[in-house]
Symmetry: C2
Subunit: 157 residues, 2 copies
DNA sequence: TGTCGATCAGATCTGCTTTGTTCACGAGTG
DNA sequence: CACTCGTGAACAAAGCAGATCTGATCGACA
């Protein structure tokens, strides 16, 4: 399967023209590449995170001749799959249709998460009380964390 | 940077509504996840390849207690960045705007690859002579590789 | 037609993955 | 815009599995 197949599927499902889908997908990929190339981390919730990673210089090998070759230090794109993507690939999760899908699929999508939410509510009730008790205490550290985060961002750029 | 930022940038650049861009991007990501979850390889030229990879069962460790824990065999999403993405992140390549960008950008895109082609030609001349000398020796392994490749394709589907 | 991606061997390096908690942020909905 | 819920990051130790990379060629794709 390749980009063109994906674009066909998207065009069929949403009823947008293939040209529009292609243009938008290409632009999305382009913006992703651009951001990562600039050293930014690109987080797509549920799908994964694209970022650049540094590789040190090392010795490689030409597989044809066996000759050792020096590989320079460089930067590479790296992808860390998100939880949903992992869950779907491993089979632990079912893939839920996006909300913009056809109305029939939309109803199905609502039923599936409802079951999950019910299961998780019971699990969360006990810690929710603790969270409420600690809410006032949390405001102060939140500011510190924010300060740390801005510091990290500035160093990155 | 996150999905919403990318969508803003795409919407600004192409003049499509944010809703359309969001719907199309979500569908594209969904189709990608779906295909990989089914065991298909998804190749997006210039960007990279998404596929699933198997992880064997092994022993991990609970970092809290130091206790050994069995990690089950599973399947994971994997991304292999394409040449252009790698080149852009490493700085070896300049990022070319997609063809649906504004007409002014289209002219700039044509000029940039012309310079590169000239640079690559000079780089290729020296190794080309060596390749010619070894050409006869290489024909035999090439056939074996082809045979292996067809075998792999049949097993996958 | 030109570019991209797969393939090959081998040695080295990197990353994965475990549990559980907390917090910040993002996404989606009303 | 506000609110709620979900996602993701961070952290700990350890060891092994997996990824990385090269150059040249060939097949597939845009």
């Amino acid at each position: 399967m390749n980009k063109a197949d994906l674009i066909d599927n998207v065009s069929d499902r949403l009823g947008h023209s293939k040209k529009d889908v292609t243009d938008i997908v290409d632009a999305f990929l382009h913006e992703t590449k651009k951001a990562v190339a600039k050293g930014n981390k690109v987080a797509v919730s549920g799908f994964g995170v694209f970022e650049s990673t540094a590789r040190k210089a090392r010795i490689g090998r030409n597989p044809r001749t066996g000759e050792a070759v020096k590989i320079k230090a460089t930067k590479l794109p790296k992808f860390r799959p998100g939880a949903e993507f992992k869950g779907v690939v491993s089979g632990a999760k079912k893939l839920v249709e996006p909300t913009a899908a056809k109305p029939a699929a939309k109803k199905a999508a609502k039923k599936a998460p409802a079951k999950k939410a019910a299961a998780k509510k019971t699990a969360k009730k006990a810690p929710a009380k603790k969270a409420a008790a600690k809410k006032t205490a949390k405001k102060a550290p939140a500011k510190k964390a924010a300060a740390k985060k801005t510091a990290k961002k500035t160093t990155r750029r």
